[in-house]
């Protein structure tokens, strides 16, 4: 048992070390090598444009259910028109960034880990190295930059769709006064709420890209190895997002006290 525990701890720290080295290589590449914008735009299309539908659906139904639940409670104390303000602040600062990041981690993190893992087991990454192309420059940096750049955009889409869906539910389904609803939302939603949410998504984007690329590059041989790397990429990036969300919220709250 002690041996197993030692092995587990050893592997865990080795993994952390390799992850740290990957981060170092990414930042080193960003400083030394001019990014190829064509590659980054390709990745932005795959990560951003192709994730729009899943992110919009997530945002819409989250906004709708949040609106309904808030209304059910607020209606008891005659605060119906404050419903959309709660949705807006909740979606902008927490639910939008976190749920969007989790959906992207599921869709994009899995795809990146599977693609890189397959490239590794079929020697395509070795082939890349023999063709004098650094895998970090060619495979990792475009994915890293693209994920970081599209995450705030996807989150903004999710938040907007969520608020719009909540507004529709509030006005047309629950019969709340539309002017009061809109007025209270604008009055109680701070730019800082939205900004903090968008700032967090940069970090979440980096987490998704680093975890997925790390898992793909270090996956074990064979189909089982690729499958495990894909699963671990999604699980670990989701957990890392949820944990870092708490610390980022506390940090941003300290830096921007009007939150």
């Amino acid at each position: 048992m002690t041996t197993l525990a030692k092995q587990f701890v050893n592997e865990w720290f080795c993994g952390l070390g390799r992850g740290a080295l990957l981060c170092r290589d990414i930042f080193s590449s960003l400083c030394k090598v001019k990014p190829v914008w064509h590659d980054i735009l390709d990745e932005m299309y795959f990560i951003g444009v192709k994730s729009q539908s899943v992110v919009a659906i997530t945002g819409a139904f989250t906004g709708m259910v949040l609106c309904a639940q808030t209304y059910f409670q607020f209606h008891k104390v005659k605060m119906d028109t404050a419903t959309l303000a709660v949705v807006s602040v909740g979606m902008g600062s927490e639910l939008g960034p976190v749920l969007t990041s989790l959906m992207v981690a599921g869709r994009v993190g899995a795809a990146i880990a599977a693609e890189l893992g397959t490239m590794r087991v079929t020697e395509q990454i070795d082939a890349l190295r023999t063709l004098a192309a650094h895998p970090i420059d060619y495979l990792i940096v475009p994915r890293f930059l693209a994920t970081m750049l599209v995450m705030p955009l996807l989150t903004a889409l999710s938040v907007c769709v969520g608020i719009l869906a909540a507004y529709i539910v509030g006005v047309f389904l629950l019969g709340i006064n539309s002017t009061g609803l809109w007025y209270n939302m604008l009055r109680h939603t701070n730019m800082i709420d939205i900004s903090c949410g968008l700032i967090k998504t940069f970090i979440f984007g980096a987490i998704i890209a680093v975890v997925a690329c790390y898992k793909g590059l270090n996956c074990a041989e064979g189909a089982e190895g690729v499958g495990r790397a894909t699963t671990e990429a999604v699980v670990y990036s989701s957990i890392a997002i949820l944990i870092s969300n708490f610390f980022l919220t506390m940090l941003l709250n300290a830096l921007l006290p009007t939150l």
Partner: protein, 249 residues
């Protein structure tokens, strides 16, 4: 010139290379033979710096690869071309993009030059006109030819072949062997192939090294190797199995 000095490599507790030493002169065609799982591909990957040895060193034209980081190794690898066992074509690129990959990355070639050079090497490997096909649409033999075209388009000084005929029928294997010989003659390239296909070794090698128990056991011209009375060499080149013998080292 390639010099390999006392190369040692283990994976966990399993020693794979246990002191490999040899030299390959410029323009030579060398074949490394040995049992499956005996470390031939591992040795080949050491030559191009894809794997770092535990001990010993590889020198290319007098420059040691020991201690170099990945970016420094990229400069040395520009001298190499490598054909992988499964060809290792990039799935997301078509044949044309695969072959022109390195030239496209360099971004200093005038428009049209890359397309022309891709067409030339495709012609050389006997696959003219398939530039728009995807790797998944190619047969095993075609993939190897495309892999070879990708390796020679930038005129490397050294070509490495990892099991070039494995998985091919005898006629396709012969075609690949002839192609390897033709490429060597055309471009005056130093070539090192690893294989356990004895017919292929005889056809493409001017010198054969036998890797046995992690060391170079024999270093002879093909004819001498095939006539050897040494029991280890004789049994290997003639494919004689003795009951109770272990298959891999």
């Amino acid at each position: 010139m390639i010099e390999v000095r006392d190369l040692k490599k283990s994976f966990g507790p399993v020693p794979v290379l246990q002191g490999v030493t040899f030299t390959v002169q410029k323009g030579e065609a060398v074949v490394i033979i040995g049992a499956s799982g005996g470390g031939k591909s591992i040795l080949l990957k050491h030559l191009i710096g894809l794997i770092t040895p535990d001990q010993g060193e590889v020198c290319i034209d007098g420059r040691s690869m020991a201690g170099l980081n990945e970016r420094q190794l990229l400069q040395i690898r520009r001298k190499f071309g490598m054909l992988f066992q499964g060809a290792a074509l990039f799935d997301s690129l078509n044949v044309e993009q695969n072959i022109g990959f390195i030239l496209n990355r360099e971004q200093n070639h005038p428009p049209g030059e890359i397309a022309q050079r891709v067409a030339e090497v495709l012609e050389l490997v006997g696959l003219a006109g398939i530039g728009k096909k995807w790797p998944a649409e190619l047969s095993g033999g075609m993939r190897k030819r495309v892999g070879l075209a990708r390796a020679i388009i930038y005129h490397p000084e050294i070509l490495l072949y990892d099991e070039p005929t494995t998985g091919l029928d005898p006629i396709a294997a012969d075609a690949i062997d002839q192609l390897i010989a033709r490429v060597g003659d055309t471009f005056k390239i130093t070539s090192i192939a690893v294989t356990h296909d004895m017919r292929s070794a005889r056809r493409i090698g001017r010198r054969i090294l036998m890797l046995h128990q992690g060391r170079i056991y024999a270093d002879e011209p093909p004819d001498d190797m095939f006539k050897s009375s040494d029991p280890v060499i004789h049994r290997f080149v003639n494919g004689i199995y003795e009951p109770g013998e272990q298959f891999s080292l």
